[in-house]
Amino acid sequence: MTPSSPANKSGDHGIVLLRSEELLNWSRESSLWPLTFGLACCAIEMMGSMASSYDLERFGIFPRPSPRQSDIMIISGTVTYKMADRIRRLYEQMAEPRYVISMGSCSNCGGPYWQHGYHVVKGVDKIIPVDVYVPGCPPRPEALIDGFLKLQEKIRQEKPLTGTALTGENPERL
């Protein structure tokens, strides 16, 4: 980039050289907007991550009220069968590219409801593809932030123009 003097802020001489895929990936990974919703106790930690002490917004992550505006879905808590249909529908309403972080044991595999939870889906990856799993019951905000950093790493390796997107595996469906 050619440095411009503070007196000349027109940007006329600023040049950045990079591949267009890198530009796309950079802009995607720097503005991951999650859909606002929480499912159980893990959601409290997610809210903590977004509040001032951990401040997810410094990574360009701030929640949106509509799936149409969201890039990422944080499954923060227990996925019941009753909620599963709603989650699937919200996921389908999000525009691509879309990503999913599964936060906490419940959403990873059923968690404490693994054996006797007649009402709990044994892992959200049974209904939607998951990109990053964050372990913990509940994971601390640092762990969720780490999940976002892992997702950013993953996005950096994508080839949005020349290859296929590296989204999670499609779950088994009927």
């Binding site: 069968y81 009753k82 599963a84 249909d85 007649y118 009402h119 889906v121 044994k122 049974k126 209904i127 088994e172 469906r173 009927l174």
Partner: protein
């Protein structure tokens, strides 16, 4: 008022239909007198149980072949409590659910508590204004807290194991 005093008032009013359990003090009544007893518990000036604190349903399993509904009442001004049991026969698979009359017209609280007992344990509350499932999805099969409950293999295409 102590439990013995409350039980004495009830026995004086309803006679031998009231049985008393002393281990964890409770009165036991049959389903057909439940509504009358409850109305009396709420309206009698000495008792005045104005709060229905909880309804619990229990499945005692196919061997014992009974189910129980347990009511916990509290009188807020008099600061006394009462536990009341109703025992009904368990239904065979495919037969109508065991029936207990609703008390939701006496305490509105009972409405949702009875829906929960219906949803999870499978007790039919007769004359209930709106006996639908309250926790499980509306199209769920069976009552999950029954001792012989079998989980379905799939729900809406999601594998359950």
């Amino acid at each position: 008022m102590s439990f013995d005093d409350i039980a004495a008032i009830l026995q004086e009013q309803f006679g031998s239909t009231i049985q008393v359990k002393t281990a964890s003090p409770a009165v036991v009544v049959s389903a057909d007198v439940l509504v009358n007893v409850c109305q009396f518990l709420r309206d009698d000036e000495r008792l005045f149980f104005d709060l229905l604190a909880c309804i619990t349903a229990i499945d005692n399993g196919p061997q014992v072949n009974t189910m129980e509904v347990i009511y916990n009442f509290t009188s807020i001004p008099f600061e006394h409590d009462l536990m009341l049991h109703v025992t009904v026969a368990r239904n065979q698979p495919g037969m109508p659910l065991p029936a207990v009359p609703t008390i939701s017209h006496i305490w509105r609280t009972a409405d949702w508590h009875e829906r929960e007992a219906y949803d999870l344990v499978g007790i039919s509350f007769t004359n209930h204004p709106d006996l639908r499932r309250i926790l499980m999805p509306a199209d769920w099969d069976g009552h999950p807290l029954r001792k012989d409950y079998q989980e379905p293999q799939r729900y809406h295409g999601i594998k359950t194991k």
